[in-house]
């Protein structure tokens, strides 16, 4: 009887000895864990700040939700109107193509003529030709704003803009 109880007592695995770790090392380990977590947080934040490429953008989720509320009530087009629009598109296609061709032709003619002029100049004098083919860097700084609907008014008095008075009053 004493033997069996002795045996039961000894069924557990031998216990490990408790190793006393330096408290400094424990502190270091915890600090390392903290740092790791902080670094990961910083990386996530950096990703948030970098912008998505435009191609990946989906339309704003809010607008998708709201689009159904914002549909315009359009009257159905009459058959005549549809035919008229169809013919307009066709005419416009032809017109704009002709316009484009005309402009291209003019530009080609002008460049060809300029080249001819250079050749004629070369026939006359090599020195003048060399001076003519020099680069003119001032062309690069050229800028022009296009023509407007109406011409500028002579001696126009510009109206004052709106502003908030912030002068202190004592």
């Amino acid at each position: 009887m004493a033997l069996s109880s002795f045996k039961q007592c000894n069924s557990a695995m031998p216990m490990k000895r408790k190793v006393k770790i330096d408290p400094r090392i424990i502190l270091e380990r915890e600090q390392k864990k903290k740092k790791k977590i902080e670094n990961e947080l910083m990386k996530l934040e950096r990703l948030e700040r970098t912008l998505k490429p435009v191609d990946e953008f989906d339309s704003q989720r809010r607008l998708k939700r709201v689009a159904s509320e914002r549909t315009r009530e359009n009257t159905e087009l009459t058959r005549e109107e549809k035919l008229k629009r169809f013919h307009l598109e066709k005419k416009w296609c032809v017109y704009s193509y002709k316009q484009y061709k005309a402009v291209c032709g003019q530009i080609n003619q002008a460049t060809k003529f300029a080249a001819e002029a250079l050749a004629e100049l070369r026939k006359e004098s090599e020195e003048l030709y060399v001076q003519a083919i020099q680069e003119d860097p001032s062309i690069l700084s050229y800028s022009k704003s296009g023509p407007t609907e109406t011409p500028p008014i002579k001696n126009y008095q510009f109206p004052d803009g709106e502003y908030n008075e912030v002068t202190k009053v004592w």
Binding site: R70, R72, R85, L88, F113, E120, S125, I139, E149, P151
Partner: protein, 288 residues
């Protein structure tokens, strides 16, 4: 090459036809009108040309050209289509809501408490009226100017939707003729400087302009008549034309250089002033 051909042709002419000896001499020379390059170079080097530079000073258009009927119709159609295919904007939604609110308020005047009645809400309608009033206070300048009506050829205010070219009336060899500002080439200058001086010497130094690049935009060959050819020993002169943009400033014709008059002319009116050949040459580098 072609000399043998001419000789063959000559040989074929029956000998009964009497030619003057000078005729035959000329025929046997290398004087032919074929396209052989060898003959051309000899001819070219024999010719001498005077050089001149001219400036094509262009006042670019100030206003847009009038739309054609097709362009007008297409523009209206496209604007209409854009509105039809769009969603309602914030402005339109608030406007709709306000209208509904006003309608309800009008219906339920008695239901609203006293302190909330007759509060002037600045509705979108009022705002729109304010804005249209503000717009009405501004009157843009006329597209057709006084110079258009009086047909003043000397002003740059004429025909604002087209470009204008400066032409000078000069006395050359006793005759008056209209042409671009020109100056004969003086050695020591580049062609571009010649063209620029052509303008400043003939029209005063107050003119502001800008030449594009050192290379000419075009050229014109003018052949002299027999008298002048003998006088100057030149076949004619070549004018190299430089394109420039007019930036401002008055044109003061220099009477010392026999400049009598000046005019700002549209490319379509060039033909009246310059004649067929010159206007054809200039049309090559005009871009309408």
């Amino acid at each position: 090459m072609s000399s043998s051909r001419t000789q063959a042709v000559l040989a074929a002419i029956p000998k009964l036809i009497k030619h003057r000896p000078s005729c035959l001499v000329r025929a046997s020379q290398h004087r032919n009108y074929s396209q052989s390059s060898a003959a051309k170079t000899t001819e070219a080097t024999a010719e001498k040309w005077g050089l001149a530079g001219a400036l094509y000073l262009e006042r670019l258009p100030v206003i847009t050209p009038k739309m054609t009927r097709l362009e007008q119709e297409y523009k209206e159609y496209k604007l209409q289509q854009e509105v039809e295919q769009s969603l309602l904007s914030e402005y339109e939604i608030t406007k709709k809501e306000e209208e509904e609110r006003l309608a309800i308020q009008k219906k339920n005047v008695l239901d609203t408490p006293l302190h909330l009645r007759n509060i002037p809400i600045q509705t979108m309608q009022d705002k729109e009226e304010l804005w249209s009033k503000e717009l009405a206070q501004f009157t843009p300048a006329d597209r057709e100017t006084e110079a258009d009506k009086s047909n003043d050829m000397r002003s740059t205010d004429r025909k604002l939707d087209q470009s204008l070219v400066l032409l000078l009336k000069q006395v050359v060899d006793g005759k008056e003729w209209w042409y671009l500002p020109t100056m004969n080439y003086t050695p020591g200058l580049s062609m571009r400087e010649v063209a620029e001086q052509a303008l400043t010497s003939n029209c005063g130094t107050d003119l502001k302009f800008r030449v594009f690049g050192n290379a000419p935009s075009g050229y014109q060959i003018k052949n002299y008549g027999r008298e002048k050819r003998e006088e100057t020993k030149l076949n004619g002169h070549k004018v190299f034309i430089y394109k420039a943009e007019y930036r401002g400033g008055p044109v003061i014709p220099n009477e010392d250089n026999s400049v009598l008059d000046y005019a700002w002319v549209t490319p379509k009116e060039l033909r009246q002033y310059l004649g067929r050949t010159t206007s054809r040459v200039l049309n090559k580098f005009i871009i309408y």
